[in-house]
Subunit: 699 residues, 2 copies
């Protein structure tokens, strides 16, 4: 009587998708990871955490916030071992993987290692640094730090922070104080239940004079008893959209005293007598920010790849509707619209991945070049220009790559239909965890405007004939303003398209800005007024930049099957984004309407082409079943079996119905007579009329 | 020593925003709610639930899934009282409000009242209906139903469901059976712990012959003991992205017998002898679907308004950065880019709200007209055409309105910076709860394609000279194909712009389809192949339709200040969407590049204009603090105080640190000697080399 199971099974379907791929998956994977070494390391890290009890992921959806917090803390010890025994480069690759496997832990650990230690590194004198190292800051044995910057009423505007640090000459101390509710330190990761110390950002006041925001290492808790220090009030800020493994807290200081020596004095110094020495030049902080943003670009690619691995594998095994009776139902991946939903996102994730790899190299090269240079070196300005430009571009990259990833995760969720809404699909957690990337380290909209401001500045340089840094060098080519497609839709035609359109949207923003200045606006006002055009400039420039870096990476590869596939992927990315932003391409005449129809046709065809290698492509993202943590994306295709098993394991039947007797039984056994006469519904209209009359009386 | 608090306070700021509004907030509110009666009822409902303990919302973020489920069940009894005592119209308005206050409960209650009862209403004979009413289906006293349609391996494709219902002539019963894992009923709301009965969709088999999917009322649990009936296996499907108050479950049937009379036989009938009588005509189900979609359009508007009320009020009181020293910091709402982030979304939510109101009226008018008509009425075909067109348009509206709302919620969250990521902002829950609207009742992408298919069909009618139904009547005007802007950007110019562009994108999709047919594709293949163009056709048509309905609503109002403001809002909506989809307007030449620049300028100016009344506008959404459930959107502006109070209330300090002794103390007190020599890091490279060598050996 049973219906015959449709053939082939989901497992067989995935195996068929993997048969005879047109390229070598391992070679492709090496290319995507930058080196075989990086790939092998990643595989080693994945194997290590897959077996580590603290890194169990399958049960994570059903843990309470408090359980998650405790589980997250369990990972600390294992990670401290690695940080103290392996090279920085290896450790960074390890953290990159942790970032996609367990974003909560990544952050909680990163607060102590990245933010607190980073604050010391950039702000402490060598003596201060060795003092804190002696106290145990490197191995977390003695000091666990947190980073107390943001306040309840101030986030983006660091200069506007209101916590005060007032110098008390008598005792040679600073008095840290929270003057009102809005100045409460807020969102402080690790503060609620982990940290012993905080790097506190506060307005320094010496002899009644404000000197701006400085950093003060302030002890929060006794390191033996973990009780709060006098004057320190800490609370838990509780549930968040995601990353509940982090114990974010608030801190209020009530006249808390710290030794003067706990102010970080690499830059501004305060002497025993209260003499404030400001540094001669504002600090060059491009480097630090650039490193963080580069890692967010890479994380955007990796997180998108994680979601896409699930969505693409599921789309390959899920079958729905058949064209004829008794025919095998069609794989979702064979529907042109489903290809349209997923393939461009695959291309985008790959493009962003290559961009991250190249950014990393550029960043390291520039840092090394700067380190090697003498102040008198004639190339210094070039390097600085390049650093400045990359820094501005990285602001746009951070914004548009994190947005692209967040969008990808939700589109992947939707592409899995109802099952995407199950917590066990892992999309809900991926989305919730990732969402904060659009906000922290600079709100994406604000960062886009910063990138736009720099582009307006670069434009100003270009029209004065200045030779621009490589990332914006196309602005030196004024012939771009009226460039036209050669109708080939080749990679170089696509590159020119982006250069042309970026040129024109930047020009528009810059001309708006200049017109506003001429009309008498201040620079600040003019920049604000042209912010929509600045935003567009940043958006177009950033996509063009990603396309360029991806294409450059491909051009450096030898000409084999992997490269051929990547060229197809690159073309899909470039053309799909042209479609997405077609208004600018038509407006500035790079493409005409007929050519734009061709673009749409090409995207259709490229989606179908990439679909042919979709499973090998996501396989080369090299993400283990443990990392993906979604039965819908199981490598072997055992989607329904794994999903069912996970749902059963996570939801054992209760011994007894928790509320049948209290709530359901009385409802079921209610007698009709218990209800009032339904006719009393008439009463409502009278009641309503009374309210209406009353209201009219008031008017 | 304390810093002076900045003046004015957040409360004073909001009061200033409300001083001297250019329109009467109450009148505006009445307009948005369709009638004063609807508004007064809503206020009454809000007051009722604000004081009802089961409808407490402030603690909802910290409840576990199981606590949420129990809390949700507590609401049943109060709601049953209303359903049995008030008019359907009043009850529907009540449920509309519940839908935004508590989407979990809305669904859980809706499963029993909307879906199960709806299945009976549309499928049961009068005798069957009165049998189930006698059993207590109306008051939930005796029967609590659920709706067992979707299966693990089949969602959208209802005809492909694999559960079987085999007629057993000997016992006059149907045997309901789940033949394999993929046929497990899945996602069944209410199944896990509430329902006693299910409307089971199963392939009917009589004498070995399949007759397609029919509905069988099947008892799941004993109504006294609540134990599962023999052969019924039920499990909880556990955590979801949102709506955790619903107890979705899975059901497997193992040869479960139901009396033949429990098959719903209004349409297909099976006699005692197993004779199957199919209905003469396929059932006209437009009406039922249309009602559901209309309510989803309204819910999209309401949910978006809820998020926007929070984001706009917060943007009014949040100040960040000052232009000069010691100056008051600027309200976020005064930044042009922040206006750009929120004002178009306000306009969109209002536009969708008016669309929902008009759809509701159209739907009721059509139903009444159909009811009144005799089959011989010469107007019958017109009405049916209109119903068919509205049905197709409603598919697109459901898709694009739910997408717009989901997007609005997340943009609102992002616009509140870090605080938007706090669970207490309520954005995370709003997003998670709403997200499923894009998937259920038809996946949005699939629905868009259905709308597109109907537009392609309408086009075919138009070129044959057929007079089309009002919603697509513009396709009869071939002069639109090459229409041009009169440069006024007036409401009528904007309307023509949408008609022109919708005309052209539909034409493109239709011509693609025809070309594919001519190239030898089957109708199905051709439709699939042109799906991207169909999708675009649906998108453009839908926005133009919303604009038209909004504009029609305004044109019917008397010419007062409220109407003037709504005209501005309407213009912003129309022009902003033109900007968003500018590619099509340029491609088909309705606007040229210079005109498009004007559009951008106008949107900037309209955003600034709407910003001037932003607080009065969101006030007229008439959502109480209880419904909004976000301290960031408090009506009185006491944002930080309320937020702090809620965070404190939700997170009382634990008596004892839950894991200091186990996890943190050992870390802090670890001796350096406990760590291995850092030089052992060298070991890693050797290890890695070994792995590499091994791998090379394999190749």
């Amino acid at each position: 009587m049973a219906f015959p199971r449709p053939k082939p099974t989901t497992m067989e379907t995935l195996a068929m998708e993997r048969a005879n791929p047109s390229f070598n998956i391992r070679k492709m994977s090496v290319a995507m990871h930058g080196s075989e070494r990086a790939l092998i390391l990643k595989e080693k890290f994945m194997a290590e955490i897959a077996r580590h009890p603290a890194f169990k992921l399958s049960d994570i959806h059903d843990l309470s916030k408090d359980e998650l917090r405790e589980r997250t803390m369990e990972k600390f010890a294992s990670m401290v071992y690695f940080v103290t025994t392996e090279s920085l480069e290896t450790f960074q690759l390890r953290m990159q993987l942790i970032g996609i496997a367990d974003p909560s832990f990544w952050t909680r650990f990163g607060v102590a290692y990245g933010l607190f230690l980073g604050a010391l590194r950039s702000g402490a004198t060598p003596n201060q640094m060795s003092y804190w190292i002696d106290r145990g800051v490197l191995g977390l044995n003695g000091v666990i730090g947190c980073f107390a910057m943001t306040e309840l009423a101030h986030g983006s505007n660091v200069a506007g922070l209101e916590t005060t640090a007032t110098f008390d000459r008598d005792t040679d101390e600073f008095v840290i104080h929270t003057p009102h509710l809005g100045a409460t330190k807020w969102w402080i990761g690790g503060a609620a239940s982990t940290a012993t110390h905080a790097a506190v950002f506060a307005q320094m006041i010496v002899d009644g004079k404000k000197h701006g925001v400085k950093t003060f290492v302030t002890q929060l808790r006794d390191t033996k008893s973990f009780t709060l220090m006098p004057g320190v009030t800490i609370g838990d800020i509780g549930k968040k959209m995601g990353r509940d493994g982090i114990d974010n807290g608030y801190i209020q200081f009530t006249y808390v005293r710290v030794p003067r020596a706990h102010m970080l004095m690499k830059h501004t110094q305060v002497s025993r007598d209260g003499v404030v020495t400001e540094p001669p030049l504002a600090q060059l902080t491009y480097g630090a920010l650039l490193g963080g943003r580069t890692s967010m670009v890479t994380d955007s690619s990796n997180s998108a790849k994680k979601a896409l691995t699930v969505a693409v594998r599921y789309a390959a095994v899920r079958r729905q509707f058949s064209s004829g009776k008794n025919q095998l139902e069609t794989q979702l991946l064979d529907y042109p619209i489903h290809q349209r939903r997923l393939m461009p996102l695959v291309a985008q994730a790959i493009a962003i991945g290559f961009t991250g790899l190249r950014l990393q190299v550029m960043y390291e090269d520039m840092t090394q070049a700067l380190d090697r240079m003498e102040p008198s070196d004639p190339n210094l300005n070039d390097i600085l220009d390049k650093l400045k430009e990359t820094h501005a571009t990285s602001a746009g990259l951070k914004a548009f790559c994190t947005w692209a990833c967040l969008d990808t995760i939700d589109k992947c969720r939707q592409s899995c239909g109802g099952h995407g809404y199950s917590a066990y699909s892992n999309f809900p957690l991926m989305y919730a965890d990732f969402a904060v990337q659009c906000t922290w380290e600079g709100d994406n909209t604000i960062l886009s405007l910063q990138a736009g401001r720099s582009l307006v500045g670069a434009w100003g340089g270009a029209i004065k004939g200045k030779k621009l840094a490589p990332g914006v060098a196309y602005l030196n080519d004024s012939s771009l303003s009226s460039a036209k497609s050669d109708s080939s839709l080749s990679l170089s035609d696509i590159q020119r398209a982006w250069n042309c359109v970026a040129f024109n949207v930047i020009k528009k923003a810059a001309e708006e800005y200049v017109a506003l200045l001429k009309s008498g606006k201040s620079k600040d006002e003019a920049m604000e007024k042209c912010s929509q055009s600045r935003f567009i400039a940043a958006k177009v420039h950033t996509v063009g930049y990603i396309f360029r870096l991806f294409r450059e990476a491909i051009e450096e590869m030898k000409d084999d099957e992997e490269t051929k596939t990547l060229r197809t992927v690159c073309k899909l990315y470039g053309l799909w984004q042209i479609e997405e932003q077609q208004g600018y391409f038509l407006k500035y005449g790079y493409f005409n309407a007929q050519q734009m129809d061709k673009v749409q046709e090409s995207v259709d065809a490229l989606c179908a082409e990439v679909r042919g290698v979709a499973i090998p492509l996501v396989d080369s993202f090299a993400l283990s079943d443990h990392i993906i943590n979604s039965p819908l994306g199981k490598w072997d295709g055992s989607v329904y079996e794994s999903y069912f098993a996970q749902v059963q394991a996570a939801n054992p039947p209760p011994k007894e119905h928790p509320y049948f007797n209290r709530l359901i039984k009385p409802l079921l056994e209610r007698q009709n007579e218990d209800m009032e006469d339904p006719e009393s519904a008439m009463g409502l209209n009278e009641e309503l009329k009374e309210i209406e009359d009353e209201r009219k009386g008031e008017q």
